[in-house]
Subunit: 259 residues, 2 copies
């Protein structure tokens, strides 16, 4: 089946997830990149611009069917002075310009940090340090897309803000919006510590999830967690499985002996 | 009992709710006002300043125990160009400066518009236009503090953002934060149309709720709806009743014949 969306802008295209995405799905979509700096080794045509500047956003969006909005200051402890332009203003600009340009769909890189404080509650606080005593991994209550917003930093607040903005544009202007509360995606592409045995998301699993969010019909607004099928995960994947057919291929547990 | 907080800064002190608050509770708190413009008839000492300017915020906070943060562009359809400085930046500044200044508690004026799109779902969509057929007012499922964020404008998004910011400062820095999703508070102090038979909040009821949020112990972070005990209300007050002892005195239904 031909995908409904073909021409896809990837913001923050110099980043890790963008790199995996355009590499793995080059045959499926016609990707264009956008980044604040000119890439040294671009793998896709790239528009250089600042997403906090609306004219730069409009220019990057020209002719696109969909946007995967990954561009942001992605540091969990990013200072407000950077979060304000790069996450808050930029994300509002992307959604607003997408509406104006008649873009069909936006996949927004939210983050588990929008709800990061849940992780300090029992039993998650124990799982993240490997204290599994008395816990059954098949019966850990999952943190899902309906939990209360509990950010752990300005970065997390900005992601909650992006979700709220996406909901507004979806419900009021018909933009289709999928928000991904992405877990731990790293360069090594394997869990690096005890916490990541719960929170890891492999490159191929996040790429699969983004692909499903681009192609799945119908979709209006929804929130999914980007996490692999880890034995000790505490973020829900049932909702992504039920709505999108997400079928993650990786499990951090397979790497336990190597962390 | 002596209130725990005594010196209270009211931001946006030129506004309607602030006026009712400082009038009704003048004996209970030592109020100081803050507004962007010099008031023509100030009823409390007032600091003039711009909340999007951190230095102005710090100056206004000097010596305070608590803040009732009402200052914002309060138009439901406020444009982004105003929401950005007056609601987003200002609210972050207030929370951040409160942490730095060791302020005990913040009562944040959120809004029903943070979750305004729920109102277009059945049965709320019928209640707001007076189509009560088949509905029992005592059994309308209430929109409560746990529903999903569904803003109906940039204003509503900014209020969801303020709640997320409040949660962050409460959980990470010990600031005590109450967010009020305020309904319809108007100058006439009575419901003016069919929708307001559901959404009205009288002056004395919102003043009571703010007082409870300033005084109640313990409080860490919570969200309450600011609405009178209206026959056809669809926003939950049980949570405010259970946590704070909120006992609204007014019911919009008493004014039905006069709208």
């Amino acid at each position: 089946m031909t995908p409904v969306v073909r021409k896809v802008l990837v913001t923050g295209s110099g980043g890790l997830i963008a790199g995996a995405l355009v590499r793995d799905l080059a045959d499926r979509y016609d990707f264009t990149g956008q980044d604040i700096a000119r890439p040294s080794h671009p793998t896709v045509p790239t528009t250089v611009g600042d997403l906090s500047n609306m004219e730069d956003v409009r220019r990057a969006l020209d002719g696109m069917d969909a946007v995967v909005h990954l561009g942001a200051d992605s540091r969990q402890d990013a200072p407000w002075s950077s979060v304000l332009p790069n996450n808050l203003v930029a994300t509002r600009n992307v959604f607003d310009a997408c509406r104006d340009a008649g873009i069909k769909r936006v996949v927004f890189a939210s983050s588990n940090h929008a709800v990061g404080m849940h992780e300090l509650d029992d039993p998650y606080s124990r799982i993240r340090v490997g204290d599994y005593e008395g816990l059954d991994p098949d019966n850990v209550p999952q943190i899902d897309h309906t939990v209360q917003i509990r950010p752990d930093g300005h970065y997390g607040v900005s992601k909650a803000y992006g979700e709220a903005t996406g909901a507004y544009y979806a419900e009021n202007f018909g933009l289709e919006v999928a928000c991904l509360r992405i877990g731990t995606v790293n360069r090594a592409n394997r869990p690096m510590d005890i916490r990541q045995l719960a929170t890891w998301c492999s490159h191929r699993d996040i790429v699969q999830l983004i692909r499903l969010c681009l192609d799945h019909e119908p979709l209006r607004f929804d929130i999914f967690y980007g996490v692999s099928n880890n034995k000790w995960r505490f973020w829900d994947i049932d909702h992504a499985r039920d709505v999108l057919g997400y079928a993650p291929q990786d499990n951090a547990e397979d790497y336990r002996d190597s962390i």
